[in-house]
């Protein structure tokens, strides 16, 4: 949810300076949240589906 408006805010910053600052602050929060959530997942789950499955 935090990540959703970041693109628009950073792009709008071309005309409105503070929008970029706000957008990048949201990128820090949303990116940190995504990274933290990924770190909490077991290594075996990450990219596991890319492997061929053996039945």
């Amino acid at each position: 949810v935090l990540h959703a408006p970041t693109g628009l805010l950073i792009a709008a910053g071309v005309q409105i300076g503070w929008a970029q600052t706000l957008g990048s602050a949201l990128v820090v929060l949303a990116g940190g949240w995504i990274a933290w959530s990924v770190m909490r997942q077991p290594s075996s789950q990450l990219g596991a589906e890319a492997q061929p499955r053996v039945r």
């Binding site: 959703a4 910053g13 970029q20 990048s24 990128v27 990924v38 075996s44 990450l46 990219g47 890319a50």
Partner: protein, 168 residues
């Protein structure tokens, strides 16, 4: 490639997203004066070492990290049920960042020179600056670049939401 390797790459690569945000936050914390109404202040601003550092580290390095982040997020979501959307988001985001990088190159290399020449008593250089900003090439790079970036970000959000693999 073993899944553990992919997992390690994703775990490392995903941290480029908040670092990109931090660099962009730093680069955009100060805002340049209006180049139409405060010409001399603008020329001084774009001539500073701080401006150069903000564009080299904040904008260019930030965009490179954002590209790595988009690829990582795309790979992470590739094994989810929103794989196609994630692929599209990754392509849009990377293309958007690459197009905008060309403008960062202009701001890093050309703008400081223009500022210094203006302050050295060559006011015509600001007309060159304006001519570049309003050139068709500039517009053809900025507008699609920003649009691709915005659409890529929104598509990533929808892909994350649909994947159900990350808390929203």
């Amino acid at each position: 490639m073993p899944a553990t390797n992919i997992g390690g790459w994703i775990r490392t690569g995903v941290w480029t997203l908040p670092v990109y945000g931090l660099l962009t936050f730093w680069a955009t914390f100060t805002h340049e004066p209006n180049r139409h109404t405060q010409v001399e202040a603008y020329a001084r601003y774009i001539s500073t070492t701080n401006y150069l550092a903000q564009h080299l580290l904040g904008s260019i390095l930030g965009a490179i990290l954002a590209v790595f982040g988009a690829i990582t997020l795309g790979v992470y979501l590739a094994s989810s049920r929103s794989d196609r959307l994630a692929l599209l988001a990754m392509v849009f985001s990377v293309a958007g960042h690459c197009l905008v990088l060309t403008i960062f190159g202009f701001s890093t290399i050309i703008s400081p020179v223009i500022g210094r020449l203006y302050l050295a008593g060559q006011p015509g250089t600001m007309e060159v600056n304006e001519a570049i900003f309003s050139s068709p090439a500039f517009i053809f790079l900025v507008v699609p670049g920003l649009l691709l970036y915005v659409v890529g970000t929104i598509l990533f959000d929808v892909a994350i939401w649909r994947s159900g693999t990350l808390p929203t």
